[in-house]
Symmetry: C2
Subunit: 574 residues, 2 copies
């Protein structure tokens, strides 16, 4: 046998590194160690297993050709040894071996290595609140937990569910409870919005409203203070500063942390963001590699280190480690940060930095917001796909893109293209001209992503001045605080009517195609908030008014297509 390669962790990065390396170096003697009995599963599929979209947990452990990825499979098919239920206790870097313990028998032994890979993943953060350890409180950390949750559902024990944490996994779990099982489901998120840091507030609001329409209660800006038990010691209530929610089950998905203890104890360089690696994914010990959720990685936009725990990255990193183990110089240079999630009949996706993050990182950042169609507006299946493009005003570099559309692949088609270009330092101009494939069933002649860049161009050149959506909402909520504003609504008189009735002298309707001859009707002393369906007509009118020397107007970017998705309470009744 050739080189001894030991891999700690058998879920994503570990098996990928093992199998790829074995193909490159068939003589290598490769062993995967995992403390669990179940390995190599699609952890991101857990919400779909819980929901019932995936009928059996074994599906998550199967290959596309329906073989179960267990230890026997790896041995027979891949030529890779797997020791399950085998916990790595310590790494002895001098002797080059891993001390292990069988978690069933307690037997210990020592596994020697020439090269070691740490792929220990992440662990869920358990909130330090009373009741966190009660029966009926689950994290989504492994398949066993998922199986336990689904058993409770299948036994009819879950009529109500509370999810603590409004990140992606929490929201996916909430959908699983609510959609197929019909459970009364609540989500509690400590931050003021769902998906904090990943998307900006308007997109979070659209998502939240959509999920609420589908019966999921979402309470943001509200932390869980405690979980209370019933007489049998089972979790039955979640308490926040504002309310107490009765429940039959609690899922705690308050984020994950890199699992780095083993590496730390072995004296490897570890930061709070994960195990420190170079771009070949070598740790501070050149004989030890690390990959997956347990490492810190580089953000390709900021150049700074960050933590990006995602199954897709783990797989890509695993391949890079496999290359390097086999002597092929292969690098993993960092991450843009792409994200996509289904939520009932919608899809939300993002890549790069949010506006909030970009500003916090010191960029002179702004964002175009638009509401394009996901396919030709005359095509029957068309729907609107609000989109935001975050850019740096100084360099015109695109920093991020967010989109909220129907539950098909339309958002993905824009997010993936944007990620590719952001990773290459793409500018607004690159995005304007980016070659998005066009046919009416799939796109518009000027693709949504091109259009978003065109709006950003208009903004960066100072031709388009937007009102911040929150400022607009504040004004609507309390018009007296902003006496100098007037809404100029460019839509069809029938669309304008209920708003003009409700908001009276705050709201003026003049159709888009009549402004050029009726602009004298506009009061000169007010700032005009120009409003239409998507923001494009508003921009045109802003430019026109500017040309008359009337420069006190602001565009409501994305227009009613965005505002109507926010779930505001002032919407006129039909």
């Amino acid at each position: 046998m050739g080189k001894k390669i030991v891999i700690i962790g058998g879920v994503a990065a570990g098996p990928k590194a093992a199998c790829h390396c074995k193909r490159l170096l068939p003589e290598a003697d490769i062993t995967i160690l995992d403390q669990d009995s179940l390995i190599s599963y699609g952890g991101c599929g857990i919400p779909y297993y819980v929901s019932g979209d995936v009928s059996d947990e074994e599906e998550l452990r199967k290959t596309s050709f329906h073989m179960t990825r267990d230890a026997t499979f790896f041995q027979d098919a891949k030529g890779v040894k797997v020791r399950t239920q085998t916990r790595a206790l310590a790494i002895d870097r001098q002797k080059k071996c891993v001390e292990v313990e069988n978690v069933v028998s307690g037997a210990r032994d020592s596994v020697p290595y020439d090269k070691l890979v740490i792929a220990t993943g992440s662990q869920p953060f358990v909130l330090p609140i009373p009741g966190a350890d009660l029966d009926g409180v689950y994290t989504i950390s492994d398949l066993h937990k998922a199986i336990a949750i689904k058993s409770r559902l299948a036994r009819g024990e879950v009529g109500r569910a509370v999810v603590i944490g409004g990140g992606a996994i929490g929201l996916e779990m909430a959908e699983a409870f609510a959609d197929l099982w019909g459970a009364e489901t609540s989500v509690i998120e400590f931050m003021p919005q769902v998906l904090p840091r990943i998307i900006d507030a308007p997109f979070a609001a659209m998502l939240q409203h959509h999920m609420q329409k589908h019966g999921v209660q979402i309470y943001t800006g509200e932390g869980a203070l405690s979980i209370e038990a019933d007489g049998n010691g089972k979790a039955c209530r979640v308490v926040t500063p504002k309310r107490t929610i009765d429940t039959d089950i609690v899922v705690m998905s308050a984020g994950v942390r890199p699992r780095t203890q083993l590496a730390k104890e072995a004296g490897l360089l570890v930061s709070p963001l994960g195990i420190v690696v170079n771009n070949r994914l070598q740790t501070s010990d050149p004989d030890i590699y690390a990959a997956g959720d347990c490492i810190e990685t580089t953000n390709l936009i900021t150049g700074k280190k960050f933590f990006a725990p995602m199954g897709s990255l783990a797989n890509r990193e695993g391949r890079v480690v496999g290359d390097n183990l086999a002597g092929i110089h292969s690098t993993f240079n960092g991450v843009v940060g792409s994200f996509v999630m289904k939520a009932f009949e919608s899809c939300i996706g993002a890549t790069g930095l949010s506006l909030e993050t970009a500003r916090a990182e010191g960029f002179e950042a702004d964002a175009s917001i638009s509401a394009p169609s996901d396919r030709a507006h005359f095509f029957p299946t068309e729907s609107k796909m609000p989109m935001q493009l975050v850019f740096d005003r100084k360099s015109r570099r695109v920093l991020g893109v967010q989109a909220f559309g129907a539950a098909n692949d339309a958002v993905l088609a824009r997010i993936n293209a944007a990620a590719a270009l952001i990773g290459k330092g793409g500018t607004i101009d690159d995005f304007s001209l980016l070659e998005m494939a066009y046919a009416p069933p799939f796109a518009t002649a000027i693709d949504a992503l091109n259009a978003a860049a065109n709006v950003a161009d208009n903004m960066a050149c100072g031709r388009q001045r937007n009102v911040a959506i929150q400022d607009f909402l504040d004004w609507i909520a309390a018009p007296s605080s902003r006496p100098d504003w007037l809404a100029l609504d460019l839509r069809h008189p029938k669309e304008v009517e209920p708003f003009a009735q409700k908001f009276a002298e705050l709201w003026l309707g003049i159709p888009y195609n009549e402004i050029r001859r009726r602009h004298n009707e506009l009061p000169g002393d007010k700032t005009l908030i120009i409003i239409c369906d998507a923001g494009t007509r508003s921009y045109e009118i802003q430019v026109f008014l500017d040309s008359l020397g009337r420069k006190n107007s602001l565009v409501l970017g994305g227009g009613f297509n965005v505002i109507s998705r926010l779930g505001v309470d002032w919407w006129p009744k039909k």
Copy 2:
């Protein structure tokens, strides 16, 4: 009034340039001239209007906010004058004016310009065959033709249809006739495959087979010799060297040519590929710009000039012209060549060069072929999406990507990302690590596009050796011509059985996970064609056999997932 800008052509590039310029330069005096009465329509939507997906032709001329883009609309809303039914007869570059004629009244006048834009588009190529001018023979050149075709359909006059030309428009029209109207539809394509030059033969075969399954007859390698008339002078038969097809209507979609006569007569530089422009889209006369289907553009991969008539490019080019007219330095550097098309329940897409074109252009090109899932294989809506990644072996640069999947946006999500990266000179390694967003409802953890690049990497490094699909098909058709081959089928014995029965001693089944211990059963004197569902298992086994010193094997790339879509006649009956 400011600068006089005249634009010849009112469909896509023209109106885009006009409106964008007007916003940048509100004082400009802009006039669009068009010989047609209908302008600014979504020409790519014509097949969907004919099919009935779009009920009214006016939909194709409406904005997303339901205003009809006619001359009044442009005047009122955009501040742009439009003279319809006004044909440009000549450009007088000395006097800087355009001689025009009203096509109804015959009245002539002269329109002066400071800057001129030529956006005359393309014209369909009419085959010089007898009967091409008969009643009932249509090109898809404008909305009037589309209206006439749909009228015939609506009157029940079209029970049978023949489309001459298997390009995108021809195939879309064929679907329109066959799908909603149930017409017996045939397509005749002179080249040996549909979508010649755009996609390679295996993808054309998959598409052709799919359309045939949906009732469209497709005859490739067969040119139309003549169109014959019935007693009333109406087209009723199309004759090819191999057959005569009765029909009620003939659509001739044998490609388009740039409409350059006006430019040529004005002494502007014109090539057979279109009007010659620089990267600001200026013609050889700096006061005259050109954009849209009438120009030649640069292929960003080959650096050579080519003709890329697409509505989406016309719009992007129009914006660049608008910028430059307004004094903003803006460039259009060229085209990667992205394409997407719906065909019944499938979608086909491509970007960059096909393998055939890449080789013809002198690249040391090869292509990985794979058959990945479009979403997690355990997700209910998953389907296979055969994919090809064309690369240059020397530079490892990716030259093109093709994919054939379900009629959703999954193909688009890969084609757009690929186009973005190809446009930036992306290599196989860039594609391997390209950050494709992942969640089980939308993708696999190793996205289809990453996987395609991984296969290309394996090939480029010499680890994977494929059999050409055509060679495999030839061998199946006449095994005696290749006595040294043996199919090694790695699938489940039940899947193998009908093939082993049919092909007897040519076909050996050993399950993938048993090869490591059963490889001694393999005959040493034959070249093994290793076959599985998608090609991935086959690659693993090839590597394993290589490690034993058994290097005479070839992988069938894409495996049965590709072969089964080709519509071959030797498939064993179930």
